[in-house]
Symmetry: C2
Subunit: 548 residues, 2 copies
């Protein structure tokens, strides 16, 4: 039995009550929760003080979704790049290469929202020179230029929630009878918002056992696109290309005084990856969307509070537009944020979030069969790796709570893992008790990280899908990973801030880390001589500038 | 004793007559030559049929050089990059960081030929805003912008021939008494051309023992810049920055109708490295200089022929402007070209030269103390490596002759090397005898290499100072190295040719190999949609395009 208890959240499920009792005691857990695809057992409230329940504002009511097919969430996609072999009409099947279970085309005002581009010259083909066949899902370009490459940027409708799709396919559930493929709905669309509020109120009424509503998450999923074989084709954990809709684009145009184009989202197929220096249009869109998301999320959180419950946000899945380091996040009024971490930097990404009292990290590995299997899976090894990485961050910046994710029945098949998890939980509590939740000594100056994103993406640079190793950024991610466990205050600055006011006086060392032409190194911003002026003047006054 | 004799040239020197007799017999050599810094012994004509002698048209008559200091060869250089710490006058010492034995500033019409550039903005500082102090060798910028970086592009005068400087320093001779540091003179300058012709005529008269005049080379050296410590600072075997002079720039302007700027040569400090996509100005300058060099070289070659001797060109040193694959080279009328090779590709660079009957390769290693020493030097190992590499090329494209370079007395200290060299000489002759000097079977199509340079730089891409390993190009150089020994006809094409007429019909496979933004991959040329059109059309007809 542990020396102390608390600060630990466990995923639980039905049908293994006795084992759950033992496990909760062994790990000293004080909270339990359900997962995507599992239900809370009746004994949940007996086991612990606090019961979390997953809540999905943008999916889950399949009857509503099917009854209102016009409310599906949209996403901008680019067709394959098709070469015209002659000047004869060229037919492009827009969804070729995409996953039929995930997308269908959205034909609303195609002349306004779709865009055909000659990628060989970069020129837009005017709408009068192409036509759409809705039966076949094709675009025909009447008079292409021979040997030029054409693409169609188009709005799609999402037929399956991205995270559920990922979970089902990863766990091999996609063909199980009784498993519903949940359709997502957009709170900007007809009746969805009213339905969302009513559904949450009713759900709170029906679930008195739930102490904490764990929003998973709000309204828009990050970019996750599967290919025709049902495997990952494009993933961008920061991507806004599924936050779009005709309604949103119309509202944007009315407010900002200019219309966004399909290319503002499709970005030649890069879909505004955070590696790309962000355009003005994208920055405006992020602000526009975050204000909307924060205002609506606040209404849901207020409703939760009015029923005497707490509101927690999961940092992931439909988190787009929450921007935890942005100016609108604190206004949501959340009690807690929970997220998954695979490194010191991703742990800091959660623990440093301003404007929320409680932060909780879900440690890897997830209790999923990709790791929890008896055919080479190594859950103990992975747990050790991730704990050693995250612990560096935890001792620098206190974290309130920890937990695990996935399906606990899988974990129970690995007693070695359970034993090691119990030790980790105890060590986590010991660190918190010994530090008293206070930050330790830091060097008497701040380390600045300057890039195109600045504070908005604190601890969020050089990463692809959390802490996954990625050739194009692991070198630079190492800079953040190192700093996340070192005795320095770290502050993220944008080039705009330096251009406007020079390097702030509290900065002792400024780091610019990133591959050429990326948002992280800066790309074209260095063409502005004022940037070099500001940095050289600051270095001459004693500042230390490090380029990586 | 060898099975056959001939096809081999040996460097010889005075004072070791008996050893030379033995060595000539052992290697089956039929020609001998002197080197930079050695004289032919009196027995030269007894030893072999053919005596070569080095001849330097652009240096060697130090009395003339000292009597005509206004004829020194110029070179464009860029000063260090100096940051202005304030708006107070900024003083730049133009030669700081350069080798004082190599350069002095040339003050002719500084407003025309020098250029001060704000490298932070790219703007040229007008001549009225800076002044030159000839006593101190400095430029003062009156009102710089604080924290901007400035450079001075300036014409220098060469005080020491580049190859001699390299040889002296490599061999440790620079401080030996009696060693003259020869000043180079420019045949475009006052009286030099007349002197050059007269000197050659007189020299031919005085040297009846010489059968072959081995020009080393003609008038302009490749770019070789030493730093303040007398070590290599910048070397570009293809560089034209020492082919320039006020006289040449004036003549260019009169002929081409536009004036070249210092920046056309200095190129932000890249000095038009062949890795840079060549500007129109550089292409014009290469053509302008090659026509001039070919016309003047032809006069010298004609003079040699009129005295019953043969004329050979060394491919290196002062070879700039000869462009062996260019349109003017054949008009020089040379009998032979000799060059050094360190790989199959550099062997083909010599053996494929059109318009000359005899090609000779000087195999590495040079008989220099950097390899021929008893402190870790491995002349046999190096000889094997280079022979194995070159042999691949020789069996594809017959080569008339081979030889060695450097100081034979050094080689004689290594009997193992001499024995191995004798075997290599015999093998070389055997290959020539067995092939009858004919090309072997090739595949029934041509492999094209497309880059910004095209045929002008056949076998001359991706290389730095011959076959030296260099991180930025070794991957791509491997493509040429591989092709140099494979059964394919290889043809070098420029993007301009493809843009003008598509891919020629004899090409079966087209290779575009090179790092992004270089002349070898093409850089901005790919912005022209006609290039993609031409290549896609050709691939659709069955062509094979390989990008590396």
């Amino acid at each position: 039995m542990p020396r102390s208890t608390g600060r630990v959240t466990l995923p639980i499920q039905e049908g293994i009550d006795d084992q759950l009792r033992e496990l909760v005691a062994l790990l000293g857990a004080d909270a339990v929760r359900n997962s995507d695809g599992t239900d809370l057992p009746a004994i949940a409230s007996e086991l612990v003080d606090t019961v979390y329940s997953t809540y999905f504002p943008a999916r889950g009511d399949q009857d509503f979704a099917l009854a209102h097919p016009e409310t599906l969430i949209n996403q901008y996609l680019m067709s394959e790049r098709v070469t015209a072999p002659s000047t004869q009409p060229l037919v492009i099947e827009v969804l070729a290469g995409y996953f039929a279970d995930q997308f269908q085309p959205c034909y609303e005002r195609v002349e306004r929202f779709w865009e055909v581009i000659d990628r060989t010259t970069g020129e837009v083909v005017p709408p009068e020179d192409w036509s759409v066949d809705r039966e076949r899902g094709t675009v025909t370009i009447a008079r292409p230029r021979a040997w030029h490459v054409y693409t169609v940027s188009f709005l799609a409708e999402q037929l399956w929630d991205s995270t559920q799709m990922y979970n089902y396919i990863t766990n091999g559930w996609q063909d199980e009878p009784g498993r519903v493929k949940e359709r997502p709905y957009d709170v900007r669309k007809n009746g969805v918002w009213e339905h969302t509020r009513e559904a949450l109120a009713a759900w709170l009424e029906e679930h008195p056992e739930v102490d904490v509503v764990r929003f998973t998450t709000f309204f828009y999923h990050f970019t996750l696109v599967f290919n025709a074989e049902g495997r990952e084709r494009f993933v961008d954990w920061f991507g806004y290309s599924a936050s779009v809709s005709p309604e949103a684009m119309d509202a944007f145009e009315a407010e900002y005084g200019y219309a966004l184009r399909a290319e503002d989202f499709v970005d030649a197929g890069y879909y505004n990856s955070p590696f790309r220096p962000p355009s003005r249009a994208l920055r405006d869109w992020i602000d526009f969307t975050s204000r909307f998301v924060a205002a609506r999320a606040k209404e849901l959180v207020d409703l939760v509070h009015s029923r005497g419950r707490q509101a927690m946000m999961f940092l992931g899945d439909n988190w787009i537009g929450t921007e935890p380091y942005g100016p609108h996040f604190a206004s949501i009024g959340l009690d807690a944020v929970v997220g998954s971490a695979g490194s010191a930097a991703t742990t800091r990404l959660i623990s440093d979030i301003p404007g929320v009292e409680c932060t909780e990290v879900r440690f890897l590995p997830y209790f999923f069969p990709d790791v929890f299997n008896h055919d080479g899976g190594d859950p103990v090894g992975q747990a050790n790796d991730f704990w050693l990485s995250s612990r560096r961050a935890i001792v620098r910046r206190p974290l309130e709570r920890m937990g695990y994710g996935g399906y606990v029945s899988l974990a129970l098949e690995f007693p070695d893992f359970v034993a090691r998890a119990a030790e980790i939980c105890q060590e986590f509590r010991d660190i918190h008790d010994l530090s008293g939740g206070q930050e330790p000594w830091c060097a008497p100056f701040t380390v600045g990280i300057v890039n195109s994103w600045g504070a908005l993406r604190s601890w969020q640079t050089h990463m692809v899908a959390h802490a996954q190793w990625y050739k194009a950024c692991y070198t630079y991610a190492g800079v953040l990973e190192s700093l996340a466990g070192l005795p320095f205050t770290v502050r993220f600055l944008s080039f705009d801030e330096v251009l406007d006011g020079g390097v702030p006086e509290d900065i002792g060392v400024l780091i610019n880390a990133g591959a050429a032409a990326t948002a992280f190194s800066g790309g074209p911003v260095w063409d502005d001589p004022r940037l070099a002026e500001a940095l050289r003047a600051w270095v001459a006054r004693g500042g230390g500038l490090i380029g990586v």
